[in-house]
């Protein structure tokens, strides 16, 4: 349990750090000004990758999707919850869909 909490805190800290990079560091680079960066950003990509390579019985990917979506929603012009819903559906699709038919290595 303690190990789980430690892991959770570490991951949450990493997501917040990525969020800060996303909203306050990346805007200084025109490379990140394109429309593509709305979808493939510093939060969505790690959340999707984490869910892809997480063991099926583990549930940290869900928490990560909620936290990442929540942070993105604060700095989004869309309705509140948009990113939370998108990321939760992405994790759901990965866990119930892709991982059922595709065998991927699990790192955590």
């Amino acid at each position: 349990m303690a190990e789980m909490i430690k892991k959770l805190i570490l991951i949450a800290a990493a997501v917040i750090a990525l969020f800060l990079l996303q909203t306050s560091f990346a805007p200084h680079f025109p490379f990140f000004a394109g429309r593509w960066f709305e979808w493939a950003n510093f939060i969505t990509l790690p959340v999707v990758l984490f869910a892809l390579f997480e063991r099926r019985r583990h549930n940290l990917g869900w928490g990560l999707a909620v936290l990442g979506g929540f942070l993105l929603d604060i700095y989004s012009a869309r309705f509140f919850g948009f990113w939370m819903i998108i990321l939760l559906f992405a994790v759901l699709a990965i866990k119930l869909g892709i991982k059922k038919y595709v065998r991927l290595p699990s790192f955590w």
């Binding site: 800060l20 560091f25 805007p27 680079f29 025109p30 000004a33 394109g34 700095y75 012009a77 919850g81």
Partner: protein, 281 residues
């Protein structure tokens, strides 16, 4: 069976909880209070990260969308012209200082300028979050400029201690402009992604790369004479009645750390102000 039932309940509770939070945070008053608190919690770190980003943006051209060789060629070409310009600049400097003092006085007399730090940028929109809000007398519709008196954008939403500034490059932002010394009329349009163009410029008007683009004062959003950018690339078409041109905005987000918001008398007419306030409710 029991464990399965309990797991289903847990999932149902989690979904209900997330849905409840989402619904509650979409109530405008709750949303404004929550976002203000969230901005406040993160603002100090964000301002430091923003400043670090500004420094990195100036020194790391890797992601600037221009190769080093191209940049080198461009800078060499510019440098060769600077020697001639230097002599002209020295002569104009004295006169310029005098005029600038006059302009500064005029602008500061007309507007009460509030200095605000930039904390962050809204995802996929050209909207900045600044650390001054309704408690600092900032209201939707007020204009924002930078230290060089270049037009930045306008306030579109305020929270208690923070505000959202829509940059002139944001999609669908437009205002009337005056181009170059001949004061050619046109329309400035934001394209999103920190890009902008000018349109509705008569086909026979002499546009040239490098020409300065100023606000014209028409339309009531900005007063006349504020620098908006410079003509970058002209696009002419024999079939079209008007010509368009890509614009390099004068306000550089990559290097910006602070902006001024004109909180005194703001130039918007009441109808336009009401329209904006209504649109943000």
């Amino acid at each position: 069976m029991k464990a399965n039932f309990s797991k289903k309940w847990k999932v149902a509770l989690a979904i209900t909880g997330v849905a409840g939070v989402i619904l509650a945070l979409n109530i405008p008053a709750v949303n404004a209070q929550f976002k203000n608190a969230a901005f406040a919690a993160l603002a100090e770190i964000q301002k430091n990260v923003w400043a670090a980003g500004a420094s990195a943006g100036e020194s790391l051209p890797v992601f600037a969308g221009e190769s080093l060789a191209e940049e080198n060629r461009r800078l060499r070409a510019q440098a060769s012209g600077f020697w001639v310009q230097q002599a002209q600049i020295d002569a104009l400097k004295k006169e310029n200082e005098f005029l600038r003092q006059g302009l500064n006085l005029e602008l500061e007399k007309e507007f009460d300028l509030k200095l605000a730090n930039i904390a962050g940028k809204i995802l996929a929109r050209d909207i900045l979050i600044i650390d001054k809000g309704a408690h600092d007398m900032i209201a939707p519709g007020m204009m924002a400029i930078d230290s060089q008196k270049a037009v930045v954008g306008k306030v579109i939403k305020t929270y208690d201690n923070f505000s959202e500034i829509q940059l002139i490059t944001d999609k669908d932002f437009s205002f009337d402009i005056s181009i170059g010394e001949n004061a050619i009329g046109g329309l400035f349009r934001g394209l999103g992604g920190l890009n902008a163009e000018i349109g509705l410029v008569p086909r026979d008007a002499a546009l040239a790369p490098g020409q300065r683009v100023y606000t014209s004062g028409l339309g009531g959003i900005f007063p006349a004479g504020l620098l908006a950018g410079a003509v970058k690339e002209i696009r002419q078409n024999d079939v079209e009645t008007f010509q368009t041109a890509a614009i390099a905005p004068a306000f550089d987000v990559a290097a910006a750390r602070q902006v001024f918001v004109a909180v005194g008398k703001h130039p918007m007419d009441s109808a336009l102000s009401a329209e904006i306030n209504g649109g943000n409710d």
